[in-house]
C-alpha cells in the first residue's frame, strides 16, 4: 500500500512515500528548518512523486503527524495533509509525532525510553515509551527541569501561567534510562540525559503508527492537532484611563 506521510511538528519538515506491506521508504524529503514548513512541504511531496514516477492517484492514504509541536508549523502539515486527502479522495489518518519518533528509536534501544521534542519557550513535548516504542504515557509539555523533578519521583511545584501537562501526579513506572529526540538533545543537561540521541519523525514510522487504522479502512481521523497548550490570550478588564 502506497502511503503519503507528512510531519511538520518538529523543526524538520518531512514528507515521504512509503510502502506499508514491505516496510520500505520509497522516497522521502526532509528540510531541517523551523521557519520553512509552509514553504517546502508541498514541493517535497511533488519531488517524491517525481522521483518515483508516481502519480498522485497512486497514493492510497495520507498520514500526517498530529504533533505535539509548535503550533504554526504543526498546522502547516495538518492543513496540507487534509488537503491532499481531500483532493485525492483518499482517507486521512493522524499519527502522534512522538510515537513515530519512538518507533524509529526502538530499533536502536532495547529498554524503555523518554522521547522529547523542542516545544520552544524552553520547554519540551515529551512521552515515555516501552522498548518496542509503544507509548506508556500520554504526550505532555513541561520545562525540562520540572520533568526531571517528576522523573525523580516528586511532583514539581509550578507557579502561575500555563500548567505543564502530564506531571501533576507522581510517576508510576520505572524511570527510563535513555532519551531520544531533538528536545532531549537540546536540554540534555537539565533533563539529565547526557547521551540523548537525536531522532526525527520518519515517514515510514508515521505510516506504521497509523497502520492499524489504514488496514481497517477506518473512517478519516478528526483534524485535531495535539496542541497541549491553550492560546495565551487574556480577556481585558476595563478601559485604561486617558485623562491626565
Amino acid at each position: 500500500m502506497v502511503i503519503l506521510a507528512l510531519d511538520t511538528a518538529t523543526a524538520v519538515v518531512t514528507a515521504g512515500i512509503v510502502d506499508l506491506e514491505t516496510s520500505r521508504t520509497l522516497a522521502s524529503r526532509a528540510t531541517p528548518d523551523a521557519h520553512k514548513h509552509a514553504e517546502v512541504l508541498s514541493s517535497h511531496v511533488r519531488d517524491c512523486l517525481n522521483e518515483l514516477s508516481l502519480a498522485f492517484t497512486d497514493i492510497e492514504a495520507v498520514v500526517v503527524g498530529a504533533g505535539p509541536g509548535p503550533f504554526t508549523g504543526l498546522r502547516v502539515g495538518m492543513a496540507s495533509g487534509a488537503v491532499f486527502a481531500n483532493a485525492l479522495g483518499r482517507p486521512l489518518y493522524t499519527a502522534c509525532t512522538l510515537d513515530a519518533i519512538a518507533l524509529t528509536a526502538a530499533t536502536e534501544l532495547n529498554e524503555p525510553f523518554l522521547v522529547a521534542t523542542d516545544a520552544r519557550r524552553r520547554e519540551v513535548y515529551w512521552s515515555i515509551h516501552s522498548a518496542t516504542g509503544a507509548p506508556l504515557t500520554s504526550p505532555g509539555v513541561a520545562k525540562p527541569s520540572y520533568l526531571r523533578t517528576w522523573l525523580d519521583g516528586d511532583v514539581p511545584d509550578i507557579g502561575p501561567g500555563q500548567p505543564p501537562v502530564g506531571i501533576d501526579q507522581p510517576i508510576s513506572m520505572s524511570v527510563p534510562r535513555k532519551a531520544v529526540g531533538a528536545g532531549a538533545v537540546l536540554h540534555a543537561d537539565s533533563l539529565g540525559y547526557a547521551d540523548a540521541m537525536a531522532v526525527d519523525p520518519m515517514p515510514l514510522a508515521l505510516a506504521q503508527v497509523a497502520a492499524a487504522k489504514i488496514a481497517a479502512k477506518a473512517p478519516n481521523d478528526a483534524l485535531t492537532p495535539l496542541y497541549l497548550r491553550r492560546p495565551d490570550a487574556v480577556a481585558p478588564n476595563g478601559n485604561k484611563s486617558v485623562l491626565p
Binding site: H37, A38, E39, L41, F56, F71, R75, A79, A87
Partner: protein, 344 residues
C-alpha cells in the same frame, strides 16, 4: 475559461470562492469572530486554530454551491499577505497542496487588491482608472488603480496609526458596546445625534497631508469625553457619542476620497473593506459623490468584508492577463505593502 479557486485566511475569516471570467460561481465563509468577542479583538492563535478546522469544509461547500468538482478548478489564488502570520500560513499551505495535487498554477495575491477586485464581482470590470478607498479593521488606504492585474498600484494615502475599523472596535469597547465594533456602533448611532459632540477630524486642516489618515486621536477624544462624564457621575449618552464618532470617521474618509477623485481625475470611486459596510460611510460617500458627479461603487456587504471570492477575482484577472504564477516555494509576507495585486 479557467475556473479560479480563491482562498483567504489573512485574519479571522476562512473564505473560499470560485470565479470564472469575472463571475462568482460559488463561495463559502467561516468566521471565528464569536470566539474573539470576549477578548475585544482578534486573537491570532484562536484564528489560526479555526482556519485549520474550516479550510477543507469551506472548499467543499464552495464547490457544492457552484455545482463543481475539484477537477474543474484550473488555478488556485491565495492571500499570502498582508495579514496575521499564523493565519496566512494555513491558507497558503492549503493552496499549495491543492495546486500541486490538481496540477494547476498557484497565484499569490495581495489581500488589499482582493478588496478592490471584490467590486468587479458585483459591478463588472473596473474602469481604466479609478480611486479606491480601502477601509477595514486592519487597513485604511486611498489608492489610484489602473489595470489591477498588471499595473503598479499607486498609494496616495494610508493611516498613520489605527485603521478605521480598529477605531470602531476600540470606541465600541469604551462605550460598552459588543465586538465587533462596526455593526454595534452603526446600530447605536442610528438612534443618536451625529452633531451632539464635535469630535476631531485629524489631518484635515490647511497644510496637513491631504490623503493621510489618523484615527488614534479620535478614539482618545471619545475616551476622554466618556471618562469625564463618568467622573462627574453623568450618564453617558452612548447613542449620541456613537453617532458623532461615526460621523467624524465617515466625514474624513469620504472628504479625502472625493478630493482624490478630483485631483486624479477619476470618474469612479470604489469603497471597499469591512468599514464600507457602515451605513453612514456608504450614505455620505453617495451624497458627496453625487454632489461632484463621481460614480460611487460599493460592493454588497458580504463582498465588503474578508472573503475568498475577492481573492478568486484577483486570480481570475491574473489568469486572463497571462500573469506569471507563483513558485511552489513562495513564503507568506505578513506586512507587505500593496504595490501589485500579484505577490509572485
Amino acid at each position: 475559461m479557467t475556473i479560479v479557486m480563491g482562498i483567504e485566511t489573512s485574519c479571522d475569516e476562512t473564505g473560499v470562492g470560485l470565479v470564472q471570467d469575472g463571475k462568482l460561481l460559488g463561495d463559502a465563509l467561516a468566521s471565528s469572530m464569536a470566539e474573539h468577542a470576549i477578548f475585544g479583538g482578534v486573537v491570532p492563535e484562536i484564528a489560526a486554530r479555526a482556519h485549520l478546522q474550516a479550510i477543507v469544509p469551506c472548499v467543499q461547500q464552495a464547490l457544492h454551491k457552484a455545482d463543481l468538482d475539484l477537477r474543474d478548478v484550473g488555478a488556485i489564488a491565495v492571500t499570502t499577505g498582508p495579514g496575521l502570520a499564523s493565519s496566512l500560513q494555513i491558507g497558503m499551505a492549503a493552496a499549495k497542496a491543492y495546486a500541486v495535487t490538481l496540477g494547476v498554477p498557484l497565484f499569490a495575491v495581495h489581500h488589499l487588491a482582493g478588496h478592490a477586485a471584490a467590486d468587479t464581482l458585483a459591478h463588472g470590470p473596473l474602469p481604466a482608472q479609478c480611486v479606491a478607498l480601502i477601509v477595514s479593521g486592519g487597513h485604511t488606504s486611498l489608492l489610484t488603480l489602473r489595470d489591477l492585474a498588471v499595473d503598479r498600484i499607486n498609494h496616495i494615502g494610508d493611516t498613520r496609526d489605527d485603521a478605521a475599523g480598529e477605531a470602531f472596535d476600540k470606541v465600541a469597547r469604551i462605550l460598552g458596546l459588543p465586538y465587533p465594533g462596526g455593526p454595534s456602533i452603526d446600530a447605536a448611532a442610528a438612534k443618536g445625534d451625529p452633531h451632539a459632540f464635535k469630535f476631531p477630524r485629524a489631518l484635515t486642516g490647511p497644510g496637513q497631508p491631504k490623503y493621510a489618515f489618523s484615527f488614534s486621536g479620535l478614539k482618545t477624544a471619545v475616551a476622554r469625553t466618556v471618562e469625564k462624564m463618568q467622573l462627574k457621575g453623568q450618564p453617558v449618552p452612548v447613542e449620541d457619542i456613537a453617532a458623532s464618532f461615526q460621523e467624524a470617521v465617515a466625514d474624513v474618509l469620504t472628504s479625502k476620497a472625493i478630493l482624490a477623485c478630483q485631483e486624479y481625475g477619476a470618474a469612479e470611486l470604489i469603497v471597499v473593506g469591512g468599514v464600507a459596510a457602515n451605513s453612514r460611510v456608504r450614505a455620505l460617500a453617495q451624497e458627496r459623490c453625487d454632489a461632484v458627479g463621481v460614480e460611487l461603487r460599493v460592493p454588497p456587504i458580504r463582498l465588503c468584508t474578508d472573503n475568498g471570492a475577492m481573492i478568486a477575482a484577483v486570480g481570475d484577472l491574473l489568469v486572463r492577463a497571462g500573469a506569471k504564477p507563483a513558485s511552489l516555494n513562495i513564503s507568506t509576507t505578513p506586512s507587505v505593502q500593496l504595490e501589485y495585486a500579484s505577490l509572485a
